[in-house]
């Protein structure tokens, strides 16, 4: 096809602007390390290798000092105090500790937990496990824009409700839940509020006191830090919140999370937070500029593209678009020198289209057609231009190949067609 010639032209143009291929634009999956973070971590692998729990020699003191500084930096970013930071292996563990820990600790008080259908699996599957142990879980639906309805939350709370767990920012559509309003409501009703803030911390302002957050999950590798390290913020006063440990052992982290501290990782997480405290405002403006450029360059040139989720309440670096009549995996295949994600069933381990997009009521066909762009700190304008050009070119090519596009152009209402689906495949 002639498009291959066109691709070569685009590649050449990109190279002349200093764009290196492949381009990484999947920053909700993970982020590249910031070199400043790595630099600060390096001494803690070799010369400063001590165990932060060794209280009686300088090797331990040096490590403990580094951990204390990291704790302060994390606390500062979220308006907490350093004693409220518990280190974990990442946000999945933090979510597990928060939810299972509260469930066990407050079992006498009640057995009801509220969450939402668009949460990360680390939250949903933890809740599902608790259901097996006799807890009752309410999974709130979301509105078309991806936000929960506060009235529905209000009505779902009962005198048996011990925990509300709702994410600050969604990992697929980048939608920001009204955390402050949820926090206020939970505080009034005396319910603990946990938020999986993995995608939000370091990207949008989080203040545990202003937003009445009791527990929040944090991950380093989503904010230009190393994989395998995260934290759980646990409120110490007004009110004091406690979680039962899920990992038993030497009693580290005030008994809430045993296990020798991952000192280099923790140092890295601390540095990530210090950078975010300094640069978030400037970075937000930069990312929003790039995102708008990408949106305009794609949607200005293609018809029938739909943005999934609220544009108003959204992470600055997130754009999630469904390209009608084009299947997501084939689109990824066409833009194979750009790393992005799709909600298409073909790209998921379960062969199901994105449950998040389905929850928006977009219809499975649009979930199959979705692409998530995760723009990050190290993306450039030239990269955005290249990505937009490749997406536009590939969508046009695949629409020429698409029987659905042809039918739609003939004026056939695709929702009224009786499809002869092949049932064995699904």
């Amino acid at each position: 096809m002639s498009s291959n010639g066109n691709t070569a032209v685009l590649e050449e143009q990109a190279s002349s602007k200093g764009v290196k291929l492949p381009i990484y634009m999947d920053n909700h999956a993970t982020t590249p390390m910031d070199p400043r973070v790595l630099e600060e971590m390096l001494p803690y692998f070799m010369e400063k290798f001590g165990n932060a729990a060794s209280r009686n020699h300088p090797f331990g003191w040096v490590a403990e000092e580094a951990v204390d500084l990291a704790r302060e930096r994390i606390a500062k970013l979220i308006g907490a105090t350093s004693k409220e930071i518990i280190f974990t292996s990442g946000a999945t563990e933090s979510d597990n500790l928060a939810i299972k820990g509260v469930a066990e600790m407050y079992r006498e008080k009640g057995n009801h937990i509220i969450t939402a259908v668009t949460e990360h699996k680390a939250v949903l599957d933890t809740c599902k496990r608790l259901e097996k142990y006799g807890y009752r879980v309410t999974y709130l639906p979301v509105q078309k824009n991806g936000l929960i309805d506060l009235d529905e939350l209000k009505q779902a709370i009962t005198d048996k409700t011990i925990l509300v767990t709702l994410m600050a920012a969604n990992n697929e559509i980048g939608v920001l839940q009204p955390v402050a309003e949820i926090g206020k409501l939970c505080r009034e009703r005396g319910v603990i509020f946990h938020s999986d803030a993995t995608q939000a911390v370091g990207k949008v302002p989080i203040d545990v006191n202003k937003q009445n957050l009791d527990l929040i999950s944090i991950s380093a590798h989503k904010m230009y830090g190393p994989k395998g390290v995260g934290a759980l913020y646990v409120r110490r006063k007004n009110p004091r919140v406690q979680v039962s440990a899920i990992i038993d052992g030497g009693g580290h982290e005030r008994g809430m999370r045993s296990g020798t501290l991952n000192v280099p990782g923790i140092v890295g997480l601390g540095k990530c937070c210090a950078i975010a405290s300094e640069e978030m405002e400037k970075e937000t403006a930069y990312l929003m500029g790039l995102r708008e450029r990408l949106r305009e360059k794609i949607m200005g040139r293609l018809d029938e593209c739909y943005i999934n989720g609220s544009m108003e309440h959204r992470l600055p670096g997130n754009l999630n678009i469904s390209f009608a009549y084009v299947e997501g995996e084939s689109l990824l295949m066409g833009i194979n020198d750009v790393a992005v994600s799709s909600g298409s069933a073909c790209t998921s381990a379960t062969l199901e289209p994105s449950y998040v997009l389905k929850a928006l009521g977009a219809g499975d066909d649009l979930a199959h057609s979705s692409i998530r762009f995760g723009i990050g700190r190290f993306n450039t304008e030239a990269e955005i231009d290249y990505v937009a050009d490749r997406v536009v070119e590939t969508v046009q090519r695949l629409r020429e190949l698409s029987p659905l596009y042809e039918m739609a152009k003939e004026g056939i209402d695709l929702t009224k067609v009786k499809w002869a689906a092949e049932p064995a495949a699904h």
Binding site: S330, D364, D365, L404, A420, A421, A425
Partner: protein, 137 residues
């Protein structure tokens, strides 16, 4: 997921893309799959009524790279075959030719369905055309 070279080749250079007049008595159209399942294939054949040989085939597919490749290959294979020969094409032949992984086998099943569905559409047209011809005679 890594794609085989043949899948990539069909994806980059799909054979026989297009549409034929679905109202023509010589054309059989198969439309299989469903948008909510992520795959829809349209395969059309043009059959010589004297010889029953498939003289042309066209396709359009909404689906992943393997679905596009399976239907592209199907059009290549049916061309020049008689209708009966085309019916003997099995999905596992497509799996083998394209080295499809297990999770993509349904793409080949859909392509086989598309061939059968197009032939069945053409046969229906032939059957309804014949009595009419007899009356005229």
């Amino acid at each position: 997921m890594a794609y085989s070279d043949k899948v990539i080749d069909h994806y980059n250079n799909p054979r026989n893309v297009g549409s034929m007049d679905k109202n023509s008595p010589e054309v059989g159209t198969g439309l299989v799959g469903a948008p909510e399942c992520g795959d829809v294939m349209k395969l059309q054949i043009k059959v010589n009524p004297q010889t029953n040989v498939i003289e042309d085939a066209k396709f359009k597919t909404f689906g992943c790279g393997s679905a596009i490749a399976s239907s592209s290959l199907a059009t290549e294979w049916v061309k020049g075959k008689t209708v009966d020969e085309a019916l003997s094409i099995k999905n596992m032949d497509i799996v083998k030719e394209l080295s499809l992984p297990p999770v993509k086998i349904h793409c080949s099943v859909l392509a086989e369905d598309a061939i059968r569905s197009a032939i069945s559409d053409w046969k229906k047209k032939q059957a309804s055309a014949k009595p009419a011809a007899a009356v005229e005679a």
